[in-house]
Symmetry: C2
Subunit: 696 residues, 2 copies
């Protein structure tokens, strides 16, 4: 952490409003809190430690984190992160998600149909280059286009030069731009997954709760050229795990936080975005729930979708409770006030002109008023919330690629830039099965939600429904489309505009019919919201550097971060919760709840109970700063060994989107001992895996 002279002065005066002494922060790996770790924990964060952590940490494109745990490409993540792949690997009549999977030998490892993993190799600061492209006097639309173009060019150059996946990442909501270079693997195979009943023991009921007893791990292996990848940077699997009070680190890819957003933006979230989001998610959840109940096969098909919406409902509900908590809003208000005061003081101290609060805070507030007017249609049509089915996403990509690919890379919509095309096509041509009845149920729900949001008279609603009610329209779209077949997708993409125009596929026709309006909403969002907000936040970031130095980590961006904290229990309503649970707790809880769903233990566990050391630590908590996207993150000790696999936060941690707190908020991880004990005693077929993990 670099300390700016001005903030050191303030700290010296005892005036630090920031939580510089707490365990807050999802830190950039090129700007880690070295001094803080030294001061508070007497820990010397070495370059070697950091480099190993970076090269052994993994991002999964299904939306989670993981880490290499052997030099032969073996990696651990959460069962719930790998679930999407595990589900897609189940053949008709089998249910690997429910029953688990184990490859006894490498040739039994199963190739995931569309899983890509990324391993960060290098970070370069390109802020100056990006900002230089935006010249004074440019309109927001021009500025947005210029920025998009320069980012695409930087990425493309980097890809050419290094062969590495290259992404420019926007940090501090526009305060900085860094180029991230990743090694990527698209041949990733399933090695081991436990039964879902133990991986997510307690299911959605216990999601975001603690005490927990989940074996939420799965093992995958990265391959290159048909061989296990060489991964000399990996985390050694600790046989002891963490002790109470121990310093631990979490490396992973936190998705998004909103800690640096202004109060006006947070209120907009509270009153507009979150209510809309929750209404949408509850609609999908009810539909998926109803679909699942109809038969075990339906339940199998809908499992990952249902888990993800139930999870999202809880997470967003927690966020909303946070923003509806007057104390939290007051805390944000005070922070903002304090920040403004500091900025004024700094300007005075340095003889700079007085800060333009109207052009920053005021501007962001005005943007929220604009956003209200079109946020719902923007999400419904451009983000695609009205069409909750991969079939629509596929159709849209086919339609848009026909329009975008003929353009120069720098001028395309960002997701179609050259440097990203391979990853996109890898997804698009995925042979993973889609289930017509499930897609019909999802589309019916989301088309109905569209009509609920905008009303039956809205011209775009009428265009989408095409003279039918949502249920009949969904039926028509799903039964008429050929996009279930990856070959048809490829044919359309390769056939370009002619193929699209000639297609009578109803899903393609739908995507095309609304494309002009969707693009218009996107431009409006980019020009009226994204770009002006970015400019305002860039100024705020500048001021923040001036008055607080870099003692504030940027908001999460689903890029690699380093968090740290202490392994420590907490208290709820007078009850002390221990820093870890044990195997015994799982058996007790299951017995207490009559072993009923979702507290049924797998037969293997019930029958093997007597062989287990029931005192084995199962899950543990620490104060480290995590958020969604950190699922599957390695938890490391000072020696850089893997002592746990993060898989959840408790409900007290749900407000961490907006504020860090460590009074009760904790992340929850699977204890490294639990994995070894379970593998050794209950999964004899995983002997090779066990040996690979424990090999010295």
């Amino acid at each position: 952490m670099r300390w700016h002279p001005f903030v050191v002065m303030l700290l010296g005066l005892g005036g630090a409003a920031m939580t510089a002494r707490s365990d807050e922060g999802m830190w950039l790996l090129n700007d880690p809190p070295r001094q803080h770790l030294k001061d508070k924990y007497q820990f010397e964060l070495t370059d070697a430690w950091l480099r190993n952590a970076m090269l052994a940490s993994v991002r999964l494109n299904s939306g989670g984190s993981g880490g290499f745990v052997s030099p032969e490409g073996l990696l651990v993540t959460n069962h719930h992160v790998a679930a999407d792949s595990i589900q897609k690997l189940s053949k008709p009549g089998e249910d690997l998600l429910r029953d688990g999977f184990c490859a006894r030998t490498r040739d039994q490892e199963l190739k995931c149909p569309d899983l890509e993993i990324n391993v960060l190799q290098e970070i370069l600061d390109v802020t100056k280059e990006v900002n230089a492209a935006v010249r004074p006097g440019m309109s927001p639309a021009e500025a947005f286009a210029a920025r998009r173009a320069v980012m695409s060019t930087i990425e493309q150059k980097s890809l050419k030069a290094t062969g590495l996946r290259s992404d420019v990442v926007t940090l501090y909501n526009g305060g900085a731009y860094h180029l991230y270079r990743y090694k990527k693997y698209t041949d990733v195979r399933l090695v081991f997954a436990p039964e879902r009943a133990i991986a997510s023991f307690g299911g959605d009921v216990d999601n975001f709760e603690y005490p927990r007893m989940n074996l939420d791990v799965a093992f995958l292996r990265a391959y290159e050229h048909g061989q296990p990848a060489k991964t000399p940077h990996y985390f050694r699997w600790s046989e002891t795990g963490p002790a109470e009070g121990e310093l631990v680190f979490v490396t992973g890819h936190p998705g998004t936080t909103q800690r640096l957003e202004t109060l006006a933006r947070l209120k907009h979230r509270r009153d507009y975005t979150l209510p809309y989001t929750l209404a949408r998610i509850r609609t999908l959840e009810a539909a998926l729930h109803q679909y699942s109940q109809q038969s075990p096969e339906n339940a199998r098909q809908a499992a990952t979708d249902l888990h993800s919406v139930a999870n999202a409902r809880k997470a967003f509900s927690g966020q909303l409770q946070g923003l509806l908590d007057p104390q939290i809003l007051e805390q944000k208000r005070q922070q903002e006030e304090e920040f403004r005061k500091r900025v004024v003081e700094y300007a005075k101290a340095t003889g700079s002109p007085p800060p333009d609060f109207e052009g920053t805070f005021g501007r962001i507030e005005k943007i929220q008023h604009l956003l209200r007017e079109f946020e719902k249609p923007y999400y419904l049509f451009e983000t695609g919330h009205a069409f909750f089915s991969p079939l629509f996403n596929i159709a849209r990509h086919c339609v848009r690629m026909a329009d975008e690919l003929p353009k120069k890379s720098a001028e395309r919509l960002r997701e179609y830039r050259d440097s990203h095309l391979d990853s996109l096509k890898f997804q698009l041509y995925s042979p993973a099965p889609l289930f017509p009845e499930l897609e019909r149920a999802k589309l019916t729900a989301s088309l109905t939600f569209l009509a609920e949001m905008l009303g039956g008279e809205h011209p775009l609603v009428q265009k989408v429904l095409a003279g039918k009610n949502p249920a009949a329209r969904a039926q028509e779209l799903v039964s008429g489309t050929k996009l279930f077949d990856p070959a048809e997708r490829r044919r359309l993409v390769e056939g370009g505009k002619d193929a699209i125009n000639a297609s009578r596929d109803p899903m393609i026709r739908l995507a095309q019919a609304i494309d002009a309006e969707a693009r218009q909403l996107r431009s409006r969002y980019e020009n009226d919201v994204e770009e002006p907000e970015r400019q305002a936040y860039a100024t705020l970031a500048e001021w923040r550097f001036q008055v607080y130095g870099q003692s504030v980590a940027p908001d999460a961006t689903f890029t690699l971060r380093l968090a740290f904290g202490t392994v420590r229990g907490y208290e709820v309503d007078g009850t002390k919760l221990p820093f870890h649970t044990t195997f015994a707790d799982a058996f007790e809880k299951s017995a207490k709840l009559n072993g009923q769903e979702p507290f049924a233990l797998p037969r293997r566990w019930l029958e093997g109970q007597s062989q287990l050391d029931l005192k084995t630590p199962f899950n543990f908590v620490s104060t480290a700063d995590t958020i969604g996207g950190n699922s599957g993150s390695p938890v490391l000790n000072r020696a850089g060994e893997l002592v746990g696999v993060n898989f959840d936060r408790n409900r007290h941690g749900l407000v961490r989107n907006f504020v860090y707190t460590d009074v009760q908020a904790r992340h929850i991880a699977v204890h490294s001992q639990a994995v070894l004990e379970a593998l050794r005693k209950l999964y004899p077929e995983a002997a090779a895996l066990f040996a690979e993990l424990t090999r010295k």
Copy 2:
């Protein structure tokens, strides 16, 4: 049915747009479709038949229908209608809803804590009297007050004169007013309930579906003066049930339909009311679902709430699909156009002044624009959607009774009129248990929904939340209130205004804090919506009588109606569905779905399978016109014998709120044979019940 000369002329010209030849109609018992039944079915509806049907039909205040089936007060209804009582009768550690109940002897029959049943004795037309109270030139507010006062006076006089519960019912949305006199019973006891697994086999999954195999019946007994009530008018239980193609009747209390509403009103429902309603219901469903999953005891506590919201979600979803179906809207539009044409023709033919469409259709349309502005706050605060807990309802009644009871009966809010007070207090002082954690979960969900709907800055939201977030506020309200105790409720009601003002009960304080605003919203609704709509609909009703005679039944009003139809299967996607299912179908379906919830059969059924005649008809369908509230309705044959107990509609019937259709729409009933066969073979402890049903 009385035919108006003008409509006979039109029919003679082949110009009938109405469905006069179909089985549409929930008919008033004082205006039944005699001629139609004679013409179409050669059935002579005698006064004696009608009178017996009226005096043997029962309304339950929990929101359903039933019928006497013995001269000793025995009545049948649906298990799901009696569920509320069954649940309340379960003592800690038992679950009568799940496990069923049987009183072997009368002294084992269990008194329901707060069930009131009503039996209609007489109907009087008081339209003239009610309308005479509203004088020309009155403002809507004055008109509303005058109408409320005269209705209250009529009821009070009737109660005094007859001792019967007396309700003035508004028909045709204000086209007519009838006085309904009921005999009421407040000592109603549970005689028999089967296990929930067979009563609602298929649970929410199969709700609104067919084929069905549900033993959705429960038997209660009305008592008077501690003795079984004498009920000489009852339905004989048919041992054969209905044949295919047979004419059947349904007597019962359909809740609400919107068939006579104007197109503008229906569009308002589609675009405002239903989306709001569905968002609310999904919120509650998600919260109740989460609560239920936490333990078997939680599931037991939340069972009836969860069933009712899941049921409502499906019903309202079906309504919304109906209103989003352009064909249905077009049908309504054509009906309205046709109606207008007829009215113009009638005016010309009779030399009347041209009809004032602007003051009727146009006025109703304008009212919808007004309604949009305050419909959500009206529902949230006055209907009480923001406070989804009986604890709030209790608090509100306590607070309002302190204000209302000192006034003259005719000037009070309608629910506090003298003639209604006994029924209200019977509910209010119910000793049925309430569960703090369940109420907390429900309040958290509904307070959150309030904030989502109106935003965190809304002054009333801030008043309600009182400086806390919804979860913390719900906790504070539930842990602080003493209203769990019926004695405390009585103390507050009897203590009047002083007791209320002195109370520090947080729920009382909340109800009082928002009462002025809630009343204001109510007045606004009454004066800006209810009264002007009533006046406009009264004119429409007059016109309708003029041009169609009384060939159109009024919309449902949860009062006794007579429907009729044909027992007949139907076709879906080329598959013919039979007019009845059998016991064998239940065993087959359960086996096919591995006997998993909600398709698990009770042990008694699995073990007794071999004793059953598996060909026994289980459920059947007919075209008769039903809607929610008809649950538990007796289904009768020409002889007036009970051949079935209605319990559901299929999903094709969900649009019947707006239009009648018999192509696929059916109501579903338990076959009378199924009940006898099950009782005889599987429930030996119900021998006395069986004997009572089959006694000649």
